[in-house]
């Protein structure tokens, strides 16, 4: 597989309260074209900083050293066109006073040079692709008229409207309930496959990441702890921290803590 992006010795520092906080330390990581790569870690791991750095969305106050090369693109990437971004909270990323249709159409118009009529036709097609139950009325709906899951579907439609090579989903399902989360994960998997996109799936949930990703990168305190195929990371982790994350997962087959504590009413 060819590389879409190569991250070389990336260090990101934020200035905060007069001091400096290093969010990422000397990261080297390749992203293969067409792969589904999960970045997992706990709070303060640097996983969201990595997503922002790749998308070129780091705040101006951050200091960056190292390079991100894009051998898979003929030009420097443009956010929105080459990279689609889905955030955790669709209410924050969607404009509350603009219809869902217009927000999606605007992306298509800006990056694909379509007329408004063409862009709205494209938006309707995208709303069908993200499986909104009634695309025609969703086109005219404002974000507050949609449920959390429906809003995230609209945000995904806007993210892929310009046909990006890379889709970054940063905790895109973390605010949703379990059933909607599973639906959105299935949707992302289908869209990425259909369009041949590369997926960067940022999550705190190693079980969820393992269901979607082909490779997993484990981050902690701004450093890359372990990188491998999903089978390697889940089945044969080499780092104690990866093992600790796996052990902390409480699955439906876990031994109940109540039994261990000798508590039964």
């Amino acid at each position: 597989m060819t590389a879409l992006a190569t991250i070389r010795d990336l260090t990101v520092t934020y200035r905060r309260d007069g001091g400096e906080v290093t969010a990422l330390k000397g990261i080297n990581l390749g992203i293969a074209s067409g792969e589904r790569l999960a970045i997992i870690g706990e709070s303060g791991s640097g996983k969201s900083t990595l997503a922002l750095a790749i998308a070129g969305l780091l705040p101006a106050s951050s200091a960056v050293s190292g390079r991100i090369e894009w051998p898979g693109l003929a030009h420097a990437p443009l956010g929105g066109r080459d990279i689609g971004f889905v955030f955790q909270d669709p209410s924050a990323s969607l404009d509350p006073v603009m219809t869902a249709g217009k927000q999606i159409a605007e992306v298509a118009r800006t990056h694909l040079g379509l007329t408004w009529a063409q862009a709205f036709a494209k938006a309707k097609h995208l709303l069908e692709r993200v499986r909104l139950p009634d695309p025609d009325s969703a086109l005219r709906a404002f974000p507050h008229q949609l449920s959390g899951g429906q809003k995230q579907r609209v945000a995904i439609a806007a993210a892929i409207a310009a046909g990006p090579k890379l889709l970054i989903a940063d905790e895109a399902t973390s605010a949703l309930d379990t059933i909607v989360q599973a639906e959105i994960v299935a949707l992302i998997r289908r869209l990425v496959t259909e369009d041949g996109m590369t997926l960067l799936f940022i999550s705190h949930d190693i079980a969820l990441a393992a269901e979607l990703a082909e490779r997993i990168a484990v981050f902690r305190h701004g450093q890359l702890v372990e990188l491998g195929t999903t089978a390697q990371i889940v089945g044969a982790p080499t780092q104690p921290y990866t093992r600790a994350l796996l052990d902390a997962h409480i699955g439906l087959d876990a031994e109940p803590l109540l039994n261990r504590a000798g508590l039964h009413a």
Binding site: D177, H204, A210, V234, L257, L263
Partner: protein, 261 residues
């Protein structure tokens, strides 16, 4: 006798010209020292039930018996006094507390308001509460916004147990925590339950956590009870449509196979 008995509880909201039952004829009970979990998708009514039980909102119909009394009939001074027995811990303690308050202040309030300890006695009680939840007394002068999320949730639990409650409502209390911290908080909750026979109404969307910590579970769908019973029995073999959907949607971590899809 049950510690808490909820009977035919109903809460309706008006949305435009439609009336929606957020909670529709719900009945359940909790015994002393027992954990009952409420689970269900968004909008199933679980957080509304928590707020009704805490009397943060009033129901349209139904009855709540708590510690043998008609809880909905309690007014003013009697209700305030009884609140010592019924505490709560929410998902985000930073939102629940004044972020600039110190840890000591957050723990001093319930001791003072419920007249549990005199002014001179309170610093010692605060230190003991911090130690009770696995923190050290030197955390007392720190501001709430300065400490970590896990420490903050321990402070929230310390505040809840300060008044020696018989029931704590935990609304997604471990959902926002890092997984490495979550296990420690669950262990702390179990330890407190074992030592002090506290009952929990444990609201969560995470069936794995519910199966690990709860004795019984009530599954809700659109404000109604879809299914209830022993937590392991229900989650291992759900009978209702929503139970089956919730179990099917839970991410699975298969650590034995080498076959990655």
């Amino acid at each position: 006798m049950s510690l808490l008995a909820v009977s035919n509880l109903t809460k309706r909201y008006r949305r435009g010209d439609k009336t929606i039952a957020a909670v529709d004829d719900v009945s359940f009970h909790i015994d002393p020292g027992e954990t009952l979990a409420l689970a269900g998708p968004s909008g199933s009514g679980k957080s509304t039930i928590a707020r009704l039980v805490l009397r943060l909102i009033e129901p349209d119909a139904g009855r709540i018996d708590f510690e043998g009394d008609d809880f909905l009939a309690l007014r003013s001074a009697a209700l305030r006094a009884r609140r010592a027995s019924l505490q709560m811990v929410f998902q985000d303690p930073l939102a629940a507390f004044n972020p600039r308050a110190t840890v000591a202040r957050v723990l001093d309030d319930p001791l003072r308001i419920h007249g549990i300890a005199s002014r001179t006695e309170r610093p010692r009680r605060i230190a003991a509460l911090l130690e009770r939840v696995g923190l050290t007394a030197d955390l007392a002068p720190r501001a709430i916004h300065e400490i970590s999320g896990g420490q903050r949730q321990r402070v929230a639990i310390a505040r809840a147990v300060a008044t020696k409650p018989s029931l704590i409502v935990l609304d997604e209390a471990v959902s926002a925590l890092d997984v490495s911290v979550r296990g420690q908080i669950l262990d702390l909750l179990l330890d407190l339950q074992r030592q002090e026979r506290i009952a929990y109404l444990f609201i969560s969307h995470d069936l794995g956590v519910i199966r690990a910590i709860a004795h019984r579970v009530v599954l809700l769908d659109a404000g109604r009870i879809a299914e209830s019973g022993d937590a392991c029995a229900v989650i291992d073999a759900p009978q209702s449509a929503i139970g089956k959907a919730l179990v099917a949607a839970a991410p699975r971590l298969n650590r034995t196979t080498q076959d990655a899809s």
